[in-house]
Amino acid sequence: MEGIVLALFVCLLLALVTKYLSVPPIPFYIIAGVILGKSGLGIVANDEISTFFSQMGLIFLLFFMGLGLKLERVAANRSAVLTSGIIDLNINMLIGFVAAYLFGFSLIESAVIATAFYISSTAMALTSLIENRKLMLREAETVIWLMMFEDLVLIVFLAIFSAGDQNPIILFLKIAGVLAVLYALAHWGKEFLISILDRDDELPIIFTFAAVLTTASFSMFIGVPETMMVIALGAAFATTDPDAFEQHARPFKDVFLVTFFVFFGVTITFSGGVNLFMIAAISLLAVLSKLISGLITGIVIHGSALSGIEIWGNTIGRGEFSIALAALPGLSLAPAVATIIAAMVIVTSIAGSFTAKYCTNLRRGILRMGRKKPSVRHVH
């Protein structure tokens, strides 16, 4: 218990400092965890309470992601979302997977690393677009839809990774059943849900918390991945009043998620075959592969490689979803997987906060160089 209090207090300070410097807080929470935990000072250890808090953090993160899913909007924008999304998925997954496999991880571990390698941080990308005042750029919309596509892909991978050795057909039927129930509830219970959300007493908050927890524990009970089901719950609730649900779930998400990041850091060990070379190689590749996918997306969607630099700059940071994958319950991964993903998140999210700020300058600089020497075509 003292561990959580200490961790939360450190996070409070970190949140203050990172907000002041406008850098993403996630890497610093993890670093704080590493320093306080096993590999560092060893003053904070995981206990029952922190494990529960961390689980809640993961579940509320995914519930929030579900609330933000706008399936009908994705469907309306299908062609643009699909083109950029598929470029991003193929290139980054492939590079991530090959790199991890060459470093000697097993097939399933490489797949988890590749997914964590592929998925950019939605929170960081959107925050950087807003804070750096880039919303009007045409690339901003591409980035926003790219994040949405990545979220959708994540759901599929969560299902695959959580399936374990269950019969896939039975699992699929179970998932379909739960989904049908959730959507039926949201559809026919819409008026009831809205009437609850409209109250200004404690009921909406209790309801939101209970709904998320019930869905998670019921999913565990019948053996379907609870991570996927809370996303589905979010997506189903998003058809009623997503803003109200966000408002009521935010306090839970904010507190639990911070503990999740810190205690993820606490569990990290630097033994188990991870060395600095590996960390540097994966992190560098993580930056480079987004550059490749960004450039291709820029050329295909906006007809300009320079647009690709803008897309790249805003999508380098890996964050909450990569950590979520590394901490996925039910997967018995080597501790090295968590270490390498944590290191990659720390490096790319810090690098990403700089590229997001300065890639417009970089782009202008390249443009100027290109103008001076018109005979030479500079791509980057």
Binding site: G68, L126, L129, I130, R133, L135, M136, E141, I144, T360
Partner: protein, 161 residues
């Protein structure tokens, strides 16, 4: 001028239009609660941006809708089309030296002009619906409501007298 609005998931709502002269203006109501306004001059590739709080954005809106705004004196005219086109003007005034130390009832503001003092701002605190015995002090700012003729009368009779 066609106004387009778009809901960007995770970011907020975007409103964008192109002016007749070819410049583009975009407004974003972000989920963080701030409002960003971008303007892109025709032929330029990089927009310039301003971030505003809700209060600042309202202020900008007031300016754009044509309300008269000066440094210390602001006025807004509101038309209620449902109430037989009732037009009400709300105006703020800095209290001049001539009426410092006088009470609202002594000045006979309502009897003389028809306008009503509905609030007074004193040292950054607001006094809503000041009583008739309320005495103006140096540095007060008064919020006066009435029809535009009554407001003009107020300016002539009270502010100058």
């Amino acid at each position: 001028m066609a106004l387009r609005s778009l809901n960007l998931p995770g970011v907020g709502t975007k409103y964008e239009f192109e002016t007749d002269k070819g410049d583009t203006v975009a407004i974003f109501f972000t989920k963080t609660g701030s409002i960003q306004m971008y303007t892109l001059q025709k032929g330029c590739s990089t927009p310039s941006a301003a971030e505003m709080t809700l209060v600042e954005a309202r202020r900008l809106g007031n300016i754009l809708t044509g309300a008269i705004m000066e440094a210390d004196q602001e006025s807004v005219e509101i038309a209620f089309s449902a109430l037989a086109d009732l037009r009400v003007t709300i105006h703020t005034y800095l209290i001049p030296k001539s009426i410092e130390g006088k009470a609202i009832e002594d000045l006979q503001i309502r009897a003389k002009t028809g306008a009503t003092v509905i609030a007074v701002c004193r040292h950054d605190r607001n006094i809503i619906n000041p009583p008739p015995a309320f005495v103006f002090e140096a540095g007060d700012a008064a919020l006066v409501i009435g029809e535009s003729d009554q407001i003009k009368m107020f300016e002539r009779e009270i502010m100058v007298a």
